[in-house]
Symmetry: C2
Amino acid sequence: MATRTAAERRAETAAAYDAFLAACPTRQLLDRIADKWVGLLLVALADGPCRYSELARRLASVSQKMLTQTLRRLERDGLVVRTVTPAVPVRVEYALTPLGQGLRPIMQAIKGWAEANMDEVVAARAAYDRRAAAS
Amino acid sequence: MATRTAAERRAETAAAYDAFLAACPTRQLLDRIADKWVGLLLVALADGPCRYSELARRLASVSQKMLTQTLRRLERDGLVVRTVTPAVPVRVEYALTPLGQGLRPIMQAIKGWAEANMDEVVAARAAYDRRAAAS
DNA sequence: CTGCATCCCGTGAGATACTG
DNA sequence: CAGTATCTCACGGGATGCAG
């Protein structure tokens, strides 16, 4: 059957686009690094391995749940390695893998742009809000 | 009063950290560009101004609500300009500002890393899941 | 010390219907 | 054509309590 409604065709296009997006490497990377705690964790681990409790202290406001969850995700993605030293009490250390290290230039680029341009963005926001308030 | 419980001190540290995070330019930029549709919109607008309906067509699966919402945010941040041509029917064009253009190298860097390394990440995930399944 | 399980709630995104 | 308004629902994330 060659005849489809316009709505059907649109739905197909959208489905194909969704599939494309789900597979898009850039989207996946963006989703990963934009996570609330990932960036902080990457920084915290940048200068060497770190214990769980030490990480909890550095990221002062992270909940245990989110810290563990984020670390697991990074471990699964091969960006971080988890090393357990059996002892009493247990000692667990996290460290960046070479792959995780490779993320640093990216984060640096983002940080650089942000520090150079975010004040302009903030100014734009203020101007926009002023116009909106004057309506 | 100089004496506070350990819990109080921790709460203060966390609050201060939260305030720091909220003000952090890098966090703000990350939150903005990691938005599901922002990256796509940036690409769609990269080669010149574009009408609302044209954008809707290019980002096949975006809802009107999200398209408008995302465009408003970008406009507010001074990354995009909205130009209304009064006519019947109305014609609205969106275009990148110079500030918005400046984001392209960042997005390129992210895209570059993703295309170069995400297959390794995917492999790491598969290996991790295999180990988990074998438990 | 390092974590997992559970409950709870706010935000955000989609669907749908209506307007200048 | 280019939106706005409202409803609903799922998911993320915090708090808390328990366990190896």
